[in-house]
């Protein structure tokens, strides 16, 4: 880390971690957006990269979410996982993106590194159908367990595929 911080100014204190993780794990540096440091990581290296970042001081996982880039102009990949990290000791923040593709979007779980990822990854699994390998309990979080689709995918119709109508009908006879 120290060798990267030589040329860094105090305003860009997060740059060393961004450059370090990009260099070590084959990631791509992204330009900062409104002061937020960003980096893209390859899906097969995230487990080591997350440990590196945690050891670098990013002790808080703020959010894990996902974007479906289906039919998005210029998109090269279908899914973009977004991890928002924060280092509470020195107030650094880092946005990590990991791109995944069909037919089986799978990535290593961040739960062993940050326990906060547990429910966040369950929600991403619920809504986007992305498998997190190594997750201790990858069940649906929000939708009923009988639900089979992943409704925030762009190819899922807004009004569903009839799941909301699939209930027994009670009449006065039923008591």
């Amino acid at each position: 880390m120290d060798e990267h911080s030589a040329g860094a100014t105090s305003a860009a204190a997060a740059t060393p971690a961004r450059d370090g993780v990009a260099d070590l794990f084959g990631g791509t540096r992204q330009p900062p957006f409104r002061g937020q440091e960003r980096v893209d990581l390859p899906a097969d290296r995230v487990r080591e990269a997350f440990r590196f970042l945690r050891d670098d001081g990013y002790d808080l996982l703020v959010d894990v979410t996902c974007v479906d880039y289906l039919e998005y102009r210029g998109a090269k990949h279908r899914y973009g996982l977004v991890y928002l990290l924060a280092a509470t000791a020195d107030n650094r923040r880092l946005t990590v993106r990991v791109f995944l593709d069909d037919p089986a979007p799978t990535v290593a779980s961040a739960t062993p590194v940050w326990p906060a990822a547990n429910w966040l990854e369950r929600e991403v699994w619920d809504m986007f159908g992305i498998r997190f390998e190594g997750h201790p309990d990858l069940r649906r979080l929000l939708l009923p367990e009988v639900f089979t689709a992943h409704p925030l995918r762009k190819d899922y119709p807004l009004q569903g595929r009839g799941e909301r109508h699939n209930f027994p009908i009670l009449t006065r006879d039923d008591g």
């Binding site: 939708l143 699939n166 209930f167 009908i169 009449t171």
Partner: protein, 200 residues
């Protein structure tokens, strides 16, 4: 009939007496899931004072209630709960669908929101509005009282009529929704086959 009655004696039918007792002592079950629930609370509070109509005793146990007021949108995960609570209520019982979401799904025409609770449980009274004002809910309760007085019987025979068994909808969609629903719902298929009627 040569029978002298004192002037403080009223002759009535037992059915009417039972209905009179029931309608003036409704015990609501507040199934409040959204902003309609706030109006429901306002209805019970001192300004609008549901006690004037004998329906102020909100109970959170379905065993003690005979009027379910569904106030707010019901999602897929909540509907089995709603049905279970409805089944747990003792008879005779009635249901008010309060507001646009409970009646039709309202603006929430999405995969997880039930498009009207009347698809899955019997509804006696609909209250339009988003959310309805307390006056509207009070009007619905007054109308329900009229309905109970008009058709109520001491044994609850009025619930056994065929039209009470048919599914009622606040809004009927243009293109055969019932058949579309039946294609996915074996219980509805059986009922349609038994009734022999394509449209409720």
């Amino acid at each position: 009939m040569a029978l002298e009655l004192p002037e403080n004696v009223v002759v009535s039918r037992l059915d009417e007496l039972a209905s009179w007792c029931r309608k003036n002592s409704l015990w609501p079950m507040p199934f409040a899931t959204a902003c309609c629930g706030i109006e429901l609370m306002a209805t019970g509070a001192s300004k609008h004072d549901l006690a004037r109509f004998g329906a102020e005793v909100f109970r959170f146990s379905p065993r003690q209630c005979d009027l379910m007021i569904v106030a707010g949108r019901v999602v897929m995960k909540m509907l089995p709960v709603l049905q279970r609570i409805w089944l747990q209520m003792s008879e005779p019982k009635w249901c008010i669908s309060m507001g646009a979401c409970a009646s039709t799904g309202g603006v929430f025409d999405t995969y997880a929101v039930v498009q009207g609770i009347d698809r899955f449980i019997p509804v006696d009274m609909y209250v339009p509005g988003c959310p309805p004002r307390p006056e509207q809910l009070i009007q619905a309760i007054i109308d329900l009282q009229d309905k109970i007085q008009r058709e109520g019987t001491i044994t609850g025979r009025e619930f056994d009529t065929p039209e009470r068994q048919l599914r009622k909808r606040a809004l009927v969609e243009a293109v055969g929704p019932l058949e579309a629903d039946a294609a996915r719902n074996p219980i509805l298929q059986r009922r349609l086959a038994e009734a022999g009627a394509p449209h409720a």
